[in-house]
Each structure stands twice: as structure tokens, then as C-alpha cells.
């Protein structure tokens, strides 16, 4: 559970790296290795989102209270700002998925800047893969459900107005773009942003910590303090980036669904 400060104990300095994103069991000997910090965070985030939204959705009144007004704002941010904007009349069916996606991502991303957690769950790429795969099933499933498998494949693979002799090139490209690149980029974008962001924070904080405690070198100590401050600023930036990545993931999912269910032009 301790991050980064280990190098000081051995006296030398080893820079933060991918090993800072690997966690063992939270209770070695009792739980298996895969019951680790990211899993616990995911569970806590899940419980938080589920509980808060469940409580928020009870006893809704036509004339909102202050609390309800705040939740309506959040709800409408996804409902009107993402779902209805992109999916128009068919937004209602996909709204629950988009809501779950956005708020689960948001809370997990913000865990990177919160006390106790200080680690963004989605910088473990397995979770990002899982979400990308779920979104893949949603947008492919939406297309198949609406048009049937054959017509959906035809619509996604053969763009309108492409001459016949180009089809041997276009079809594989379209297949790659629609069914492979989309989920991979979804997962990698989310993962890489949070991974890199957390790594940058680690570098500033761990490096700063090392320099501040360096003996008999005042310059190193001041540089370490500056590094700490800079690390805090980067953390504020990460707060924004975490929200942004949650938003982008949700918007792109909605966008992919919209292209799947769009009638042929």
C-alpha cells in the first residue's frame, strides 16, 4: 500500500516506475493476490455511485429541493449534454449505461487525488479494457439489434458512394476502424492519461521527498520543496484530467452508438 517512499529506506534513489502500479493482496495470507488496492477502490467507487444515485433518485419532487437540484444538474449533464445531444430521440435506451459509465469513471479517476486512495483505478489497464469491451458490446449490440447482423455489417463496412474496385481495400480498413481501433483507443486513451498523470505526480512527490530529506545540501532541499509544490499543482491538473477523461470516454461511447444506429444516408 505504501507508494514511492521505499527507496529512501535503502538510502539510494530509484525513480518511480511501472512497479508503482502493481499491488499485491491487501491482506496477504488471507486474501489472494488479486484482491488488491485497485479492486477495493473499484468496489468502493461502485458502492458510492450506486448508493448515492439510489438515494438521490428517491422521493424526487416536481419542485426540487437544493439537494435534488444538484443531482438534477449532474443527471442532466449526462442526459442532455451527452446522451440527447448525440443520440437524439433514441437517447433514453442508452442513458442508464452512459450514466453508469460516466460516474463510475469520474469517481475512480478522482480517487487519484483523494486521501486514502491516491491512486486512479483506471491506471490499471485491466479496468480500462473491461470498460472498452463493454462499450464495444453496447455499440455493436445496438446496431445489430436495430438492423440485424447482415445489414449492420454492410452499413458499417461499406460506406456510401465508394466505387466497387476500392471495396477490397475499404472493407478491411472499415472493419479495423470500427471493430478494433475504437475499443483499443478507448481503453488506451483512458489508461494512458491516468497512468502518465499519476506517474508525473509520483515523480514530483517521490523525487521531492528524496531531495527534501537529502542531508547537507540546502539547494537540494529547496529544490525538493519546489518539486512538492509543483506536484500539488499537477495534482489539480489531474483532477481536471480525470473528469475530462470520464467525459471523453462517455461521449465517444455515445458517438459510436450513434453511428451504429444511424440510418444509411
Amino acid at each position: 500500500m505504501t507508494i514511492g517512499l521505499v527507496p529512501l529506506e535503502s538510502g539510494g534513489y530509484s525513480p518511480p516506475g511501472t512497479h508503482d502500479f502493481e499491488f499485491g493482496s491487501i491482506w496477504p495470507g488471507v486474501f489472494p493476490d488479486w484482491v488488491n488496492k485497485p479492486l477495493v477502490q473499484a468496489l468502493i467507487a461502485f458502492a458510492l455511485v450506486a448508493l448515492v444515485w439510489y438515494l438521490a433518485s428517491r422521493k424526487l419532487k416536481v419542485q426540487p429541493t437544493k439537494r435534488q437540484f444538484a443531482f438534477e444538474y449532474l443527471y442532466e449533464f449526462v442526459r442532455n449534454g451527452i446522451a440527447r445531444d448525440i443520440l437524439q430521440s433514441e437517447y433514453r435506451r442508452f442513458l442508464p449505461y452512459l450514466l453508469a459509465l460516466f460516474f463510475f469513471l469520474l469517481i475512480n479517476n478522482w480517487f487519484g487525488q483523494f486521501f486514502l486512495f491516491m491512486f486512479p483505478t483506471f491506471s490499471n489497464i485491466g479496468y480500462a479494457y473491461a470498460f472498452a469491451i463493454m462499450s464495444w458490446f453496447v455499440y455493436v449490440g445496438a446496431g445489430v439489434a436495430k438492423f440485424g447482423f447482415g445489414r449492420f455489417m454492410k452499413q458499417s463496412l461499406i460506406p456510401e458512394g465508394v466505387p466497387g474496385y476500392l471495396l477490397p481495400i475499404v472493407i478491411p480498413l472499415e472493419f479495423l476502424a470500427t471493430f478494433i481501433t475504437r475499443p483499443v483507443t478507448l481503453a488506451l486513451r483512458l489508461f494512458a492519461n491516468l497512468f502518465a498523470g499519476h506517474l508525473v505526480v509520483l515523480v514530483f512527490i517521490v523525487g521531492g521527498g528524496f531531495l527534501v530529506t537529502y542531508q547537507d545540501n540546502l539547494f537540494y532541499n529547496f529544490a525538493g520543496g519546489a518539486s512538492f509544490i509543483f506536484g500539488l499543482i499537477v495534482m489539480l491538473l489531474e483532477l481536471f484530467l480525470g473528469a475530462l477523461q470520464a467525459y471523453i470516454f462517455t461521449v465517444l461511447t455515445a458517438q459510436y452508438v450513434s453511428t451504429s444506429i444511424a440510418e444509411a444516408h
Partner: protein, 181 residues
Amino acid sequence: MDTTIWVGQAIDLGPLLPHYLSELIAGAVLLLILYVIMRKAVVPAFEKMYEERSSKIEGGMQRAAVAEAKAEAALAQYQDQLSEAREEAAKIREDAKNQSAQILAEARDRAAKESDRILESGRQQLAAERTQLVVELRGEVGGIATSLAGKIVGESLDDDARALRTVDRFLAELEQAGQTR
């Protein structure tokens, strides 16, 4: 960098390889459950509230529209009544004008007739009086002439002076008689 943790991989994917399969499963399952909660509880509750709200607002707007229609109808009715009243007033005025002209004409007519009648009756009276006078005069003149003749005959006809006196006396008597009458 220590990436030898991924034993048995043909390509070293580094951090791009999930550490445990549980990450994938947990991510997918938790998202699925969240989706179900959103779909069964959260979204229906919010959408129902939005529907209620919009129907309430629409109801209010309908009520306002009804009230407005009513007000407009009342205004139209009022204006109808007003114009009717105006028309009636104009008609009454017109009638009165006509009637007054008629009355005036009638009065004038009647006055003309009355004056005619009065003139006629005056004329008739005059005529009657005249004829009466003529008759009276005729009788009287006859009598007078007779008495004059008698008197002239009674006196000596050769005395011119006496005859003249007699005539004068007669005329004076006649004058007296005319004054006393």
C-alpha cells in the same frame, strides 16, 4: 525497469498487460450492475419526475390558454354588445329625427288647415253678416224710402225750402239713428 514480472509472454506489453484477470472481470461486472441499478431505479425515477414536471407546466399553460380564450371571448362579446348598442342608438336617433320631421310636417299641416279653416269660417261669417246686412239694409232702405216718400208726400211739394228741410231732417234722423245703433 523491472518488467520481468510478465513471465512467459512472447511480447513484453509492459503496463499494457493487465496484472490480474480479476481486473477485467471486476470492471465489467461492476459496470453491468451499475447499469442495472441506473436502468431499474435511477433513470425511471428521474424521467418520471421530469414527465410530471413537464405535464404540470403544460397543464398550467393550458389553463392559462383557456383563461385567455375566455377573456378574449368576453371582450369580443362586450365589443359586440357595444357596437350593437351604438347601432341601436344611431337608429333611435335617426328614427327620432324622422319622427320629429314628420311631427313638424304634421303640425305645420294641421296649422295650415286650421288657419285655412279659421279664414274660411271668418270669410263665411263675413259673408253671412254681409248678406244679413244687405237684407237688413234692403228692408230698412225700403222702409226709409217709404217713410221719406211719405213725408215728402205729406208736406207741400211746392215749397222747395220746406222740402229741403224735410230732407235734411230726415238725414239727421237717419244719422242719429245710425249713431244710437
